[in-house]
Assembly symmetry: C2
Homo-oligomer: 186 residues x 2
């Protein structure tokens, strides 16, 4: 412990997840991410091996190994880590948010909206469906934070779908019934 490091976004995700899980291996973190924040904040799984190690060096988490089997590394928050997490939660952030949407970028640069819409609709409808499923699952037992976040996410998706719907079906030749054969096979 004791290299001074600065806590990055990734750090706070790891700290946050550990505070929820109590104790976790990087692989657990990976699962958690993809089930939760990964929906809107993606990161490569390699980070989830590198970052806890970094946090351990700086004394925010402890690293122990299983004594048997794969001898996986188990991480959990130290007092310092818990404090860091909590004070992060308490700090108000006017921080700008980033919406990195390739489709939006292409739209801006003049791509054909109708064409874009086709793919975007599929993507976002699927995501919306996922969210709605999640919503049902978590409605009862989950704590407030995740539910609120999911709520905002769902609204975003719903709106995005609406937007693209408006641009989907009337490119220039408006009339006939397009058979919307968006079969959802994987």
């Amino acid at each position: 412990m004791s290299d001074e490091i600065e806590l990055t976004h990734t750090s706070h995700i790891v700290l946050g997840l550990l505070s929820m899980a109590g104790e976790a291996t990087p692989y657990d973190l990976k699962q958690m991410v993809s089930a939760t924040v990964g929906h809107f904040w993606s990161l490569p799984h390699s980070q989830l091996y590198a970052e806890p190690a970094r946090l351990a060096r700086a004394g925010y988490v402890t690293e122990t190994r299983e004594t048997e089997g794969r001898r996986r590394k188990l991480y959990s928050l130290t007092t310092r880590g818990r404090q860091a997490h909590e004070s992060w939660l308490g700090v108000l952030t006017p921080e700008p948010y980033m919406l990195r949407d390739l489709a939006l970028l292409k739209l801006f640069f003049g791509a054909d909206a109708h064409q874009l819409a086709e793919v975007q609709l599929e993507t976002h409808r699927q995501k919306l469906a996922e969210y709605e499923t999640l919503m049902e699952q978590t409605a009862a037992y989950s704590s407030a934070g995740p539910r609120l976040a999911l709520d905002l996410g769902t609204r975003h998706e719903r709106q995005t779908v609406e937007f693209w719907e408006e641009h989907a079906s009337q490119p220039k030749m408006a009339p006939a019934s397009r058979s919307p054969n968006t079969s959802r096979g994987s």
Copy 2:
């Protein structure tokens, strides 16, 4: 020219801007970014010096210098660059988008929504106002792409503001008649 590189998001932004401007210095690009795509896709200005150079090495843009004054570097698309840009525009991307919103992250991890809302409202209202101003300015003369992108951006902001409004003024005492002041006037 002729190192093979792969075109990143940053590359495509630079190519796109150059295709709009015809010719530009990194500083020009910097201005353009902050006036346009920078609203939703931020990047450090140093990239706008590094990236064109990289693209020049690979033959996507030409680099010339002013012969007088500051002898700034001027970039413009080569045929290859223009092609790359256009084919990028044409490719359909189911690519997932990322919403990197610290506030959302904190919300997820259990931060106090009421408190968060305060700051978020300020930020997003301001952004919304910006967008609405931009909207008026660009309504007439601007081409379709930017207008559509702006439209989507504006809706996002509007919705985000709505969301935080719901969490701003009634922290835990729920009951009374909420005046649903979600006026949708532009």
